[in-house]
Symmetry: C2
Subunit: 357 residues, 2 copies
């Protein structure tokens, strides 16, 4: 029996509240499927750690985390204590880059029992996945300021796309699309306005498309695509996007499926040379942190994605099935959290799902 | 009685179909209010012109258009004939920059009689305006490619923000917010991920905010903001955003109000040294062009914004009121276009509105 070593990083805010619920669900699933998951918790990548050390991470973080099969992550960011760009570039964005987690996979699915803010949408109507480039593009640390404090003050920020970086995420997206029943891939672009990087993106999409003649390919400018997520979410199957566009679409998509609280994401290093990282989409949510009412389902669904990544598709499906069952009971029968129109707490909803497993 | 000289540029696709309807409505309004509007039509900034001249604009376009009080614009872009980044950078994006139309004003309002794709939203629930920076930021022509055709191929695209450019659009947005009843301004940022330009944007927002203590100011990262447009559109009053973020939000907002077909925009040079330009948000829409079913309301509403800009607020309000009246009749009573769930044509709906004026 394989043992999987998993690093757990709760981080900030509701990250610390939903991770325990996620671990309970994983423990229950592991028991049921006879898996050995060996968890070790770390307090870095958090504002607390920053306050104590003046840094987001210990110097040997890379060596430490490299020893694990996966990273189970809550959320990072607590702007009252440390500016967001410092905390994020000092932790999560480092992980993605250093561990070459170049695919950020974000499923958007309208689940049974969840009310969509879109009129008349039912479970099954919305079911797509965003494949986000996760290491380059608009998220670059290259640039700077000049003539500071004067009227000539000018700020530059470089977007950087490489052939290697673009092609590998496109290949992943095409392969994923070609394995799904609809075989439909949509590319997010903005080549009419962003006139250097985005036409390049389009070119690479077209070139890769030739290798996947069985995938139906289309493209939308990001402005129109955002509009279509609201008007016609049923059009989409796999959506591939640059780092920034993927970020936007993978918050907008889950909003259309009712709540950001249930949305998971997998930061994947497809080659397996480095650990992959699993974190909910919602972030640290300072507005509701400390109240015990955060929805743990995003974190729990992440656990399912992690199990799948570790080679246990049945256990993964079972865990996700338990989530679906509990959601389907509805706020009357299950202790759903306020974002799901219930009055349950993080702990109660987590327990209900772990029991269902 | 003042005469206003207006340059008309129908452009491509449905631009050519909705501009005549817009002109009819403007003629009717001018008659009613005793205004003299002197229209002159131009065929440049179109794929037809490109095919004949190999360029989007004549060499003296700037001199020509400079003589007008405003530009009444349809849409440009016909990718079958000329790539979008060529046609747009060769026309519309030039106009914005050369005529220093640094504010792009885009109202989003759920109108009576229009069905929102968001469940349970009624007219009045959604009523905000996006103030988009319109000359710099992510839309820059600086950058390039290196190591072309090799595995090292790398593409750079510079985002450029200047203090002058950022501050002037922020000032406009704060002033606008301070004149509206809610006095609420939301800034779109992404300073957690885009770590050089966006923290700068935030700093300038905070600095400008100190001069407008009566405006309630908040900020959202663009990913969360896109989600909140869907989940809580009633939260917003004035939203200020960089060029790219403003572009995305001003398509997403109108989608939440039912259709892109009714959304107008004003590309404004606030100082009045250069002509301002009024164009619907929808674009050339190759998918429905030639069918005569495009919604002319975005174009007509642009006419109202143009009248307001030219100093005729009553005429502007009257024209917009006529649009609201016709929309409120609903698809049963008025010849609404298919995007409004009716079976009317562009011409029929345009005529109904002109008559109502
Ligand atoms: C056509 C395109 C370049 C343009 C833009 O992105 O500015 C359009 O989407 C708009 O919003 O006016
Ligand atoms: C926190 C932030 C830097 C991050 C991102 O933009 O990538 C988050 O929004 C996400 O989507 O994982």
């Amino acid at each position: 029996m394989t043992t999987h070593r998993i690093a757990v990083i709760p981080g900030d805010g509701i990250g610390k509240e939903v991770v325990p619920a996620g671990l309970d669900a994983l423990h229950a699933t592991a028991r049921r499927f006879g898996l050995t998951l060996d968890f070790e918790s770390f307090d870095f990548a958090s504002a607390d750690y920053w306050q104590r050390h003046g840094d987001m991470l210990p110097p040997d973080w890379e060596q430490t985390l490299r020893g694990y099969d996966a990273i189970y992550f809550g959320a990072v960011g607590w702007p009252e204590v440390v500016p967001d760009h410092v905390s994020l570039w000092g932790s999560l964005l480092q992980f993605r880059r250093v561990f070459d987690q170049y695919v950020n996979l974000r499923p958007c699915r309208l689940m049974p029992g969840v009310r969509s803010p879109l009129a008349g949408r039912l479970p099954g109507d919305i079911d797509f996945v965003v494949v986000r480039e996760n290491t380059e593009g608009e998220y670059s640390s290259v640039g700077g300021r000049i003539f500071e404090g004067t009227d000539r003050e000018t700020v530059l920020q470089e977007t950087i796309m490489t052939r290697v970086g673009v092609d590998r995420v496109l290949r992943f997206a095409f392969e994923l699309a070609s394995r799904r029943p609809k075989r439909h891939l949509t590319s997010a672009t903005k080549s009419n306005g962003i006139s250097i990087s985005m036409p390049y993106w389009d070119e690479r999409v077209a070139a890769m498309g030739e290798r996947f003649p069985d995938v139906r390919l289309d493209k939308f400018h990001i402005d129109a695509l955002a509009a279509q997520f609201v008007l016609h979410p049923e059009w989409f199957d796999v959506v591939v996007a640059s780092n920034l566009f993927g970020d936007i679409l993978s918050d907008l998509g889950p909003a259309c499926t009712g709540t950001l609280g249930i949305a998971p994401s997998a930061n994947i290093n497809p080659g397996g040379e480095h650990p992959s990282l699993f974190e909910p989409v919602h972030g640290s949510a300072p507005d509701i942190a400390g109240k015990g009412i955060a929805n743990p389902i995003g974190q729990i669904w992440c656990g399912s994605m992690m199990l799948e990544h570790l080679g246990h598709p049945e256990a993964a499906a079972h865990l996700l099935g338990a989530v679906e069952d509990v959601l389907a009971y509805g706020p009357g029968q299950a202790p759903l959290t306020p974002d799901l129109h219930g009055t349950g707490t993080t702990a109660e909803l987590g327990r209900a799902i772990a029991e269902r497993v």
